[in-house]
């Protein structure tokens, strides 16, 4: 695998394939009048669009697709992203004309099937969270986080309480502190103890009458279930504060344990992770939020309600924080996740059981080749460290990740969480068969041997991909964000 597996050849940009006057099709001349635009709205110059014939366009797009790596091409253990297989039947259901062609302004009476799907989805999600009320509106986990914090703010404002601080773990995803800042709260960070749980002693000193709540992923980004979660919940509830569950790692616990039973008051889900949507390129996502009865009045309006056999969007919610997204939310995502859940039916917990089993299988096979900072059974993912490889051979987590690409495997998440030096965060998901897990184990063990025997091989990896090692520092400092035409460098299209 040290030699390039194939010749990738050049992949010119579409502007470089362009030739003046070429075209992919002809638009008939209907003899229509030229529309007149209000003054000031016309652009100063015509956009400089690429010009090429259809076969060249198809080859360009096919060449790009050929260079693309996804869960459909190979193993993709990107920790915390849950890159599971998306069953194709979900697409078939999502493309049923009654769902696909529904107009967002359709009256409730003409959208009963869609509203029933949303209402039933709310019910399934409520059962998964162990909390009674759900909004489907947020379009991503990060928007779910912000919505959850806005709900906290509305809840305390309604009670006349002034609280200004949110507590997060030092292992938290970066979106947590970002959401805290965006929602106008102060951030207090709690340390992780030697077993990978929240440090209760540190926590007790940081929770008081100014604390609005906690944001926590459980299992954490270390792939560990917090063994002290009930005590954590007691500390916050005794102080009158709320607990927010970041559902990024929900794939570990569905049907096994429920955030509401752990003591969480607000929960977001990542439909695109846990409940199967194509993702990894920025969407489409879904970040519904579930809450306790006491917080339900503040949910974004409208909410789907049932009256007898009929369903409608309820806009009459005077304490609502308002809409957080246009129309009814990312509806196509709802249909696919609903199809996914119904395909499992009551066996949904098998999804999480196999996710945890697969992760522990890989962990058991790799624990001797890499450092294991927290020696416990993991949940759906685990974190290794390349600390010894770095100390003994100068090989970093980044080198390991780049070398994995030569083995036809997508690198895991690296350098996160920050509490683990040279971190490699590995999430196999439940949809991988044993053979693919074994391929990954073999590759990781081979790379650990290569680190000792021929470290330069790793330092220069990847060898067999369309591009070699990228200069990440230069990309961060001098990003090239648009194409510059050789013959017209000042042109801004």
């Amino acid at each position: 695998m040290t030699e390039p597996g194939r010749a990738w050849g050049d992949a010119p940009l579409i502007f470089e394939r362009s030739r003046s006057g070429r075209r992919g099709g002809r638009v008939p001349d209907y003899g229509l009048p030229k529309p007149e635009l209000p003054p000031g709205l016309s652009r100063a110059r015509a956009p400089r669009l690429p010009e090429l014939a259809e076969p060249e366009l198809v080859r360009h797009i096919t060449a790009l697709a050929d260079r693309t790596f996804g869960v459909d091409t190979g193993f993709y253990p990107l920790g915390s992203c849950t890159m599971k297989h998306n069953p194709r039947v979900n697409e078939r259901v999502g493309l049923l004309p009654g769902f696909r062609d529904l107009h967002p302004h359709q009256e409730d009476e003409g959208a009963q099937g869609a509203l029933e799907l949303m209402w039933t989805l709310q019910g399934i999600l409520a059962e998964v969270a162990g909390l009674p009320a759900v909004t489907l509106q947020p379009a991503a986990g990060s928007q779910g986080e912000l919505t959850g914090l806005m709900l906290m703010r509305a809840y305390f404002a309604d009670r006349g309480e002034e609280r200004d601080t949110i507590v997060t773990a030092d292992t938290a995803h970066g979106t947590n502190p970002a959401s805290v800042a965006m929602a106008g709260y102060k951030l207090e960070r709690v340390e992780t103890d030697a077993r990978g749980n929240l440090d209760l002693e540190d926590l007790r000193g940081k929770v008081d009458e100014r604390t609005a709540g906690l944001m926590l992923t459980n299992p954490s980004t270390l792939g560990l279930f917090d063994e002290g979660i009930e005590e954590v919940a007691r500390i916050f509830h005794d102080a009158g504060a709320l607990l927010y569950y970041d559902g990024a790692n929900l794939n570990a616990v569905v049907g096994i344990s429920r955030p509401g039973d752990m003591g969480f008051d607000i929960v977001h889900y990542n439909l695109h992770k846990t409940f199967s949507q194509p993702h990894g390129g920025g969407g489409p996502g879904g970040g519904p939020v579930a809450v306790r009865e006491t917080i339900e009045p503040f949910l974004p309006a409208p909410v789907v309600v049932r009256e007898g056999d009929a369903f409608r969007l309820d806009h009459d919610r005077p304490k609502s924080i308002g809409r957080v997204r246009g129309f009814a939310g990312p509806f196509g995502v709802f249909v696919r996740s609903y199809a996914y859940m119904r395909a499992y039916g009551p066996a949904l917990r098998e999804m999480s059981e196999v996710a945890v089993l697969n992760a522990n299988y890989v962990l058991a096979k790799l624990r001797d080749a890499y450092d294991l900072p927290y020696d416990r059974h993991c949940m759906h993912e685990f974190v290794l460290s390349a600390r010894s490889l770095k100390r003994d051979h100068g090989i970093t987590a980044l080198d390991v990740a780049k070398r994995l690409m030569d083995y036809g495997i997508h690198p895991p998440t690296v350098y996160f969480p920050l509490v683990v030096p040279e971190a490699l965060m590995i999430e196999p998901t439940e949809t991988e068969p044993k053979e693919r897990l074994d391929d990954f184990v073999d590759a990781m063990q081979a790379i650990a041997r290569e680190a000792a025997e021929s470290p330069e091989l790793l330092k220069e990896a990847p060898h067999g991909r369309p591009v070699r090692r990228l200069d990440e520092v230069r990309a961060a400092k001098q990003p090239v964000l648009r194409y510059a035409f050789d013959d017209d460098p000042a042109f801004v299209g």
Partner: protein
């Protein structure tokens, strides 16, 4: 050119991988070789304003690499006299010379007794070996 690993004997060290060089009632602060090596090449330094106050064990700024954004923890309390403009313009200076050109701020100390809580170079070397 990244610097070679070193922990000068004339500095005092904080467990969060920050150093202090004391001169009378003033101190120069920065991050250690271990810190810059863990982060990798720096691409941004968010510096505090002159005249602001820094508090021991609290963050006074941020450094960013392609791997992570990291808080910089003050080993001592005091008033900021100056932030290093050279590092603001060229953050990789910290990687090249973490104890010299790559200093981050100068402060006027408000409580010199805080020095007693910091480590000497030997203690910090032991701390790094355990990190």
């Amino acid at each position: 050119m990244p610097a070679a690993e070193s922990y000068p004997d004339d500095l005092r060290y904080h467990p969060e991988h920050d150093w202090a060089r004391v001169d009378g009632d003033e101190a120069t602060l920065g991050i250690t070789w271990f810190a810059q090596d863990s982060l990798g090449e720096l691409v941004h330094y968010e510096a505090p304003e002159a005249g602001s106050t820094v508090t021991k064990d609290s963050s006074y700024g941020e450094v960013e690499s392609v791997k992570a954004v990291s808080d910089i923890v003050a080993p001592l309390s005091g008033e900021v006299l100056e932030a290093n403009a050279k590092v603001v313009g060229a953050p990789e200076t910290v990687n090249d010379d973490p104890y010299g050109e790559g200093w981050l701020i100068r402060i006027r100390m408000s409580d010199s007794s805080e020095l007693d809580a910091l480590m000497d170079a030997d203690a910090y070397r032991t701390h790094v070996a355990e990190s």
